[in-house]
């Protein structure tokens, strides 16, 4: 039986990877993927918690979190598309008309 | 106002009516159909001065005892007349509409009520008059509100409210550099008074609950109750701290060196009426607040900080006078002279003698007549000669004898010539100062010479010295045109002020008696006790 803490540890690693990616990569799509990784880290925790506490809530949370992630990606891609259509870039650094 | 008849509450009336009329006069023309709006705009000047005159009349009647039959010399310090039944404004945090007057505030109220119509008169030709005159009415409300409010929240509201019409006056009718001046004026004084606000808030949450007030907070802003409450702030250090916070607000308004630099800029740029009110009434708010709040509520701290008061007063007085001498701009000079004179007020208070405090009170009043005259003169000078530089022209005595006469009278009054209003105050303060501090009096006394020097110098270089009996030396700004003398309305306003200067110089007892009573009251009722606990001795 895998301990909840192991799963949580994996979550920490995933989260760190995601966060690191989020602020090192400049391609918006990649950042989106990093966000997904972070969300999945959270999902792992929920799952671990649910199994640890034998609480059904955790499963529900996971399910909903996945749904949220999906919505987020949908919206994100739509926004990136519209960005691309005007500025022809999806680089986080190049889109900087708005600043200061 | 509840079941109370307004007629029984004249202070609320004089405070709120100008605000209402002013706002209506500004708003109605936008709402009404065009034809009637135009009619309204045409008469708005007359309505404004009518209201202002009516208020001046009411206050005068109040003073004469014709209304409410009040014996002004019989108000004990801490007691107020014309108090209304407190009307709840924000009962949840203990804010009420509570007004009242005593010998400290009444001369200021009267002064405000008188100065408004005079300043209207002096700027009778103001551009965009349909905005200008209502704005002055709003200004009147704000100023009166400061002096009548007995609720610190309302006091603070009015205190800050004075900034807005003045800001607009400077901004819309000011001189070349009005933007900078208006901003500086607003931000500078606002910042200082926010410190004061913190002080007020500390006082606020030390108040005991009053039934029916402060359902949310359990405290109230009632100044009378605060004064009555024993030992409002128990911690001595905190008390001192609050006192200093309050002082920051008051000293900046006064203004005292080193927080005075907003004043010259504001004055130079402000329109004449604005300058008159600024110097005449707004500066007095600082001293008024100090006496009304700092001194009455925190006598011990006041005693503790007397050396600070002396320092501030001395520096303002002496340094202000020297800076004055280095000015070349007429309005700047007069502005710095205000700084210098306000220093005397602190000195008067620092004497801790009823005489000195009465002198300070009278100084507030006298300066309130004289400095508007000075600014009216400076404004007229600007108006007719298009310059404010001292020495850019000579011999106005020839071209504008009335202007020259008023200028001379005003300056003479300001340098403390006997039988003009300023002298009484100066003498009273100096006598008291000698009693308490002895030879230190030489410093303020010798400053009187400096004061005389800068006024005489300016007089020599503006009124006199044209080298030709038939022609003055005209400034370049006139482009060869011949300047005119004062217009009738400028003259009327200045004559009134000049007459008042002489009247209160010859018969100071008109206001002196009640001021003296009040000062004795505050010393005997509050300060002596504090002096004894602090074991104060000069």
């Amino acid at each position: 039986m895998i301990e909840a803490s192991w799963i949580a540890g994996l979550g920490v690693i995933l989260f760190s990877i995601g966060l690191l990616g989020a602020f090192t990569r400049k391609n918006a799509i990649v950042v989106l993927m990093c966000i997904e990784v972070m969300l999945n880290a959270a999902n792992l925790n929920f799952v671990a918690g649910a199994s640890h506490y034998s609480d059904v809530d955790g499963w529900v949370f996971t399910a909903i979190a996945i749904a949220i992630a999906a919505a987020e990606v949908a919206i994100g891609l739509a926004i990136l598309l519209s960005l691309y259509s005007t500025q022809e870039t999806i680089s986080l650094e190049d889109a900087n008309i708005l600043k200061n | 106002m509840g079941g109370e008849r307004l007629i029984d509450d004249p202070l609320s009336v004089i405070t709120l009516v100008p605000l209402a009329v002013g706002l209506l006069l500004m708003i109605l023309p936008r709402v009404l159909p065009e034809s009637s709006a135009e009619g309204l705009i045409r008469v708005s000047r007359n309505i404004s001065i009518g209201v202002a005159l009516a208020i001046a009349a009411i206050t005068t009647l109040l003073f004469l005892g014709q209304w409410g039959s009040i014996d002004w010399t019989n108000i004990t310090q801490g007691g107020y007349v014309l108090q209304n039944e407190a009307v709840d404004l924000i009962p949840a945090i203990g804010v009420t509409w509570k007004v009242g007057a005593d010998a400290l505030s009444f001369p200021m109220i009267w002064l405000t009520a008188i100065l408004i119509p005079i300043s209207m008169l002096v700027e009778w030709d103001a551009k965009r008059g349909h905005l200008f005159f209502p704005l002055l009415l709003i200004m009147e409300s704000a100023l009166l509100g400061v002096f009548v409010a007995l609720d610190l929240f309302v006091f603070y509201v009015f205190w800050e409210l004075t900034l807005i019409p003045m800001f607009l006056l400077i901004l819309l009718w000011g001189g070349e550099d009005r933007r900078y001046a208006a901003m500086k004026f607003f931000i500078y004084t606002f910042t200082a008074s926010v410190f004061m606000l913190i002080g007020i808030l500390v006082m606020y949450f030390h108040t005991d609950a009053i039934t029916g007030l402060g359902s949310l907070s359990g405290h109230h802003f009632d100044l009378v109750a605060m004064t009555a409450q024993d030992n409002l702030i128990p911690s001595e250090g905190l008390r001192h701290f609050v006192w200093i916070l309050l002082l920051i607000g008051f000293a900046t308004k006064m203004p005292s060196v080193p927080v005075h630099t907003w004043l010259p800029d504001a004055h130079v740029q402000a329109p004449t009426a604005g300058s008159m009110l600024l110097a005449g009434v707004m500066l007095k708010m600082g001293a008024y607040g100090f006496l009304r709040i700092s001194m009455t509520v925190f006598p011990e701290s006041t005693i503790e900080f007397v050396p600070l008061l002396i320092f501030l007063g001395m520096v303002s007085l002496v340094y202000g006078a020297w800076v004055c001498m280095g000015q070349t701009n007429l309005k700047r000079m007069v502005a710095y002279s205000s700084v210098s004179h306000m220093g005397l007020i602190f000195l008067g208070i620092a004497t801790m003698q009823p005489l000195g405090i009465a002198g300070a009170l009278f100084m507030m009043f006298a300066h309130g007549i004289i400095s508007p005259l000075l600014f009216a003169v400076a404004g007229a000078f600007k108006h007719h000669y298009h310059t404010l530089e001292i020495g850019s022209m000579r011999g106005i005595a020839h071209h504008s004898p009335w202007l020259a006469a008023h200028m001379m009278l005003g300056w003479m009054a300001s340098l403390g010539l006997p039988l003009l209003a300023g002298f009484v105050a100066e003498v009273a303060i100096l006598i008291a100062f000698w009693m308490t501090y002895g030879w230190l009096v030489l410093l303020p006394a010798l400053t009187l010479i400096v004061t005389a020097a800068y006024y005489l110098n300016s007089m020599q270089r503006t009124i006199f010295e044209s080298n030709d009996p038939d022609q003055g030396i005209l400034p370049d700004t006139l482009h060869g045109e011949n300047p005119s003398d004062l217009t009738w309305h400028e003259n009327a306003g200045m004559l009134t002020l000049a007459a008042m200067t002489a009247l209160f110089g010859i018969m100071p007892f008109i206001f002196w008696d009640m001021m003296s009573d009040w000062s004795s009251g505050i010393i005997i009722n509050t300060m002596i006790e504090a002096m004894q606990t602090q074991e104060w001795s000069p």
Binding site: N96 | M352, P401, F433, A445, L446, L448, E465, S466
Partner: protein
């Protein structure tokens, strides 16, 4: 004066004014002292009226010709004051039942207040300090000065009607002159009548204001504007100290009322003994005020410049009345030092200071007067010098009183007051006479120029550097202006101290008693005593010089030939004053005025007094003093005038005869021949005297080196340091803002990075707190 009507008709409007005093007495049954306040109040109502009417009716013919641009009203109100003053004087002399030694009328609480005092650790309200009042105080000193003031104001106003209103340059601005003139009269009368030191000071300042305004009457002249400022500022320095003196006095006595203070000057407020050291400082401060007002060293610099004002102003303010205010103040100090009554002992040093200042000024001013060529400047320095005499006398008197010699003290103070009277009359007249000369010379110059203009095309040439006051263009005027010359001669004689003429009696008394003080009491009095003695001779020199330069010798320019005697308006006051100077002094001396003026308790005029005075002037018991007396007469009468004659004397040109009243003097002067003094005139000493002993330069330089840079520095400091801090905050905020905004790079990656940094900081902080 264009109209040829009978000029007396113009005086009709003043009749109602003259009727006031009699009708009050006989119809309303008033006492004279009850009417005293009218002396001040009536002019107080008249002066604004003149100013306002003058402004309204400026240029109106009736106003100009009929009312003399307000002069008639001024004259009327002054006549009223004079009549009441005479009424009071009469009552006083006949010893009316309502007169005590001094009389206080209508005390009125002007300001009431409380003062708290510390007794032990307790603070309580003092019962001693309650108010400052106002009222009328009349005693012998008051009366003397009141009479001098009202009388001279009236006469000089009269004179002005002839002097001011005939000058083109004054046209349409005479109402200003008369208004300020009357205001000045208010100040003078009020100061004399005031019953406390504060009101004395108040009116004192009013006079200062009027002095300022009137000196600057010709405001367009740079020199006049400058002189006015100088006068006001210099006296202001003294006034400030005077005010400090008042503060000290008030602190000592708890009142500034004469009645309270003089009741017992040794007891202060609350029954405390007055310490002489404290009182010394109070009196010294008051004295500095007096020094400023009376133009004594070292605050003397303003008086000569003050001659920029119209001549009547010089006559009234700067010779006859205002400058006496300082003396009046010192006389008022008598009760403080009079240990015979309730005075405070130990004030000898103060008396010495007064005497020394007097002596120094007397000598210095006389010396400077030697080299002045401006007729009014000579008179100005003479005024300074004569006032200094009085100060010296007062100093000696105070000294006597303070060491208990009250008889001698009263005598010399009486002599000083008497000198004040004589000097006021004589100097007023001298100035009027000089005014007459100037006026006529000026007119003659205009006339000459008109003639010459016919032949030259030199247009636009104004008066140029022509100066109608310069004695170097005069000479020989004795023939052209007999009345003026006579008046001037009599006045000069009085000032010099020629025996039997006015000033002689008083000057003699002062010098003799100063020496007495030196010889018998206080060796330190030697310097002032010597100086006043020397000054007597110098007075003889410069007064004679002035007269001779103006009236004797051949004419020094063609203008003299066109000079005529002045108008009646000018002549009449001269004649009146000549008579008073010549005879009045003598008469008053006979009446024992010397003693009576000094001693407020002296209530009977006695024959004894007359004899005593006459005797004392010539023949004091003390041989040393007798020697001094004769020396004085010798050098004043003989040495000074003779030396002057040797330099400036001379006959008139042939074929011209002066009036017999003065011709003897002209003749006499010519007998001493002429001496060439050009070498002396070029000497460094003469140069120094010309430059007024460099005092003015010293003050100017000091001011330019200190005050002006200090003012500039203050202004700079305020602008760049105090306001600079604010500006620095402004600019720092702005640059800080730009810096902060730069962090918002626009790159979302940076935003995320920043958020991550923030997150880590939060961890660190939370960790820190929980660990």
């Amino acid at each position: 004066m264009s109209d040829t009507k009978n000029e007396w008709e113009l005086l009709v409007p003043i009749i109602p004014f003259l009727l006031v005093a009699p009708s009050l007495k006989f119809l309303a049954g008033w006492e004279s002292v009850e009417a005293a306040f009218l002396i001040v109040v009536v002019p107080l109502l008249i002066f604004p009226a003149i100013l306002v009417l003058g402004q309204l009716y400026n240029g109106n013919e009736t106003w100009k010709n009929r009312y003399k641009e307000g002069g008639i009203f001024a004259l009327g109100s002054l006549a009223l004051s004079l009549s009441i003053a005479i009424w009071i004087l009469y009552d006083y002399i006949v010893g009316s039942a309502h007169f005590e030694a001094h009389s206080v009328v209508d005390p009125f609480s002007w300001l009431t207040f409380d003062v708290i005092e510390q007794t032990g650790a307790q603070w309580e309200v003092s019962t001693g300090f309650t108010d400052i009042g106002v009222g009328v105080w009349i005693d012998s000193v008051t009366l003397m000065l009141l009479f001098v003031a009202t009388f001279l104001c009236f006469l000089i106003c009269w004179f002005s009607l002839g002097y001011m209103n005939t000058d083109k340059i004054n046209e349409d601005s005479n109402h200003r002159f008369y208004g300020e003139f009357v205001l000045f009269a208010i100040g003078m009368f009020g100061m004399v009548l005031a019953d406390n030191f504060l009101w004395l000071f108040i009116f004192w300042e009013i006079m200062g204001l009027c002095s300022y305004l009137l000196i600057g009457f010709y405001y367009w002249k740079d020199s006049a504007a400058y002189a006015a400022k100088k006068a006001f500022l210099t006296t202001r320095v003294g006034d400030v100290f005077l005010m400090v003196g008042l503060l000290i006095l008030y602190d000592i006595y708890g009142s500034l009322d004469f009645a309270v203070i003089f009741d017992d000057p040794s007891t202060g407020v609350g029954g405390m003994m007055v310490e002489s050291s404290e009182l010394f400082w109070a009196l010294l401060m008051l004295f500095i005020g007096a020094v400023g007002k009376s133009a004594q060293f070292p605050l003397h610099v303003w008086l000569p410049d003050a001659m920029e004002g119209p001549t009547p102003v010089s006559a009234l303010i700067h010779a006859a009345t205002m400058v006496n205010a300082g003396l009046y103040l010192v006389v008022r100090m008598v009760p403080f030092v009079d240990i015979h009554v309730n005075g405070v002992a130990g004030l000898e040093n103060f008396a010495l200071i007064v005497a020394w200042i007097g002596g120094i000024t007397a000598f210095m001013a006389a010396a400077i007067a030697f080299v002045q060529n401006d007729i009014k400047k000579v008179l100005a320095y003479s005024t300074m010098s004569q006032l200094a005499y009085i100060f010296t006398g007062l100093g000696a008197g105070l000294l006597f009183l303070n060491i208990g010699e009250h008889h001698a003290g009263y005598f010399v103070i009486g002599a000083s007051m008497f000198h004040l009277f004589n000097h006021a009359m004589a100097k007023g007249m001298l100035f009027m006479a000089s005014g007459s000369v100037i006026h006529e010379v000026h007119h003659a110059h205009d006339h000459v120029r008109e003639l010459s203009d016919k032949y030259s095309t030199n247009e636009g040439d104004d008066h140029g550097d022509f100066d109608p006051q310069d004695m170097r263009i005069m000479g020989g005027l004795a023939a052209r202006m007999p009345v003026t010359a006579t008046a001037m001669m009599l006045g000069s004689m009085s000032i010099i101290g020629i025996p039997l003429i006015g000033g002689f009696w008083s000057k003699e008394g002062i010098i003799a008693e100063t020496w007495a003080a030196c010889l018998h009491e206080e060796p330190l009095m030697f310097v002032p005593a010597l100086l006043v003695l020397a000054t007597a001779g110098m007075t003889g020199f410069y007064m004679t010089r002035m007269w001779l330069m103006t009236f004797a010798g051949p004419p020094k320019s063609e203008i003299v030939g066109h000079v005529h005697e002045a108008t009646p308006w000018i002549k009449e006051p001269l004649i009146i004053l000549s008579v008073i100077t010549a005879l009045g002094g003598f008469a008053l001396a006979l009446f024992g005025a010397v003693e009576y003026l000094g001693d407020p308790e002296y209530d009977h005029l006695s024959f004894h007094g007359i004899l005593y005075t006459l005797e004392h002037a010539f023949l004091p018991e003390d041989t040393n003093l007798r020697l001094v007396g004769w020396t004085t007469i010798l050098i004043a009468m003989v040495i000074g005038p003779v030396m002057a004659s040797r330099i400036h004397g001379g006959r008139l040109i042939d074929g011209v005869e002066a009036s017999p009243l003065v011709s003897w003097l002209v003749d006499l002067s010519s007998r001493f021949g002429s001496q060439d003094v050009s070498e002396l005139a070029d000497s460094q000493l003469a140069e120094a005297l010309q430059r007024r002993l460099y005092f003015d330069d010293l003050y100017e330089i000091t001011l330019a080196k200190t005050a002006i840079p200090l003012a500039g520095l203050s202004a700079w400091f305020d602008k760049n340091v105090i306001d600079g801090v604010i500006k620095q905050i402004e600019s720092n905020s702005a640059s800080g803002s730009v810096q902060v905004r730069r962090i918002t790079t626009g790159s979302a990656r940076d935003y995320i990075l920043m958020a991550a940094v923030g997150m880590l900081s939060i961890f660190a902080l939370l960790w820190g707190v929980s660990a």
